[in-house]
Symmetry: C2
């Protein structure tokens, strides 16, 4: 029954408040859940594919106080964004290496929900794991849509791991 | 990392056309997918919990030509329904025993989507697997709602396994 490992794609993002290089609580939760409940001790039976989608607009906000005087400044900024994203992925890849689970990780730019579905189509994982903040009905309208969009549109089975209420940080700076 | 096995609940139903004791294609697909992609060779790491929800109204239709002359007739009919449901579950339990995966199976009566969510709350599986027929937009309005309801309301992660287009039987009698 073994053969090729089961390929699990995980969409991971950075902390909303703290930003890079911190992985969001919901990304880490989805990752740990996958290791504990799916991979378990069968480390050779699975391969984890980490996709991090950088949102160009959000990154722009972080750079409101920066001054760009030359084309090189922009190039440097893009390099820095890329480096930050790599830092984020490093967290997951190091953890996989420590426990002996095969993995791959890469970065794409764009609208997360669109890019995730596009990458599912391209990479064809066996299933997709997405984390999800346990949001109230008001917040859901604006931000709780990536996981819902993927459940509907991704061309593979999708499992959404909700952060439980007690995992919501008291201080949003830790989110 | 092993400890307690991961408890996976699978909601299974009978074939729409052939009825009992045939498991639906989507139930069998969801089951085989779970074995191949999640359980793999780690048979001691997982326990499968099979829930079959019998829909009272649908069963009533099967008995349109029956004549009920005494309270015993009704009792017998209910026994027969139960026996049919057990037959359905036997398929899954026998397969699990053959490959050495621990399992439990039980029957409940009611509205499948409500009962599944209620049983999730009671049994607290690590996640729920539901099969889903790949329906067109017209059919979805009427029947494609159990999996969608569970994704929204079940108090555990839910993974929906869609039957792919090429698995749709040519003859609906095989569905």
């Amino acid at each position: 029954m073994e053969g090729e490992p089961t390929r699990i794609m995980l969409a991971v993002n950075e902390s909303t408040i703290k930003g890079y290089p911190n992985a969001s609580i919901s990304s880490r939760k989805a990752f740990e859940w996958t290791l504990q409940k799916i991979v378990r001790s069968n480390t050779s039976g699975f391969k984890l594919l980490f996709l991090h989608v950088q949102v160009p607009d959000e990154d722009g906000f972080d750079d409101m106080d920066s001054v760009y005087a030359s084309p090189e400044d922009f190039k440097n900024m893009r390099h820095r964004d890329c480096a930050r994203g790599l830092h984020l992925l490093e967290f997951f890849v190091e953890r996989c290496h420590a426990i002996g689970v095969g993995c791959e990780a890469w970065i794409k730019k764009g609208d997360p929900k669109e890019v995730i579905c596009h990458e599912v189509k391209r990479v064809q994982p066996d299933f997709l794991v997405v984390g999800c903040r346990g949001l109230g009905p008001f917040q859901r309208v604006f931000v709780g849509t990536v996981s819902e969009f993927c459940v509907k549109h991704a061309e593979c089975p999708v499992i959404t791991i909700k952060r439980s209420a007690e995992e919501t940080p008291q201080d949003p700076v830790d989110d």
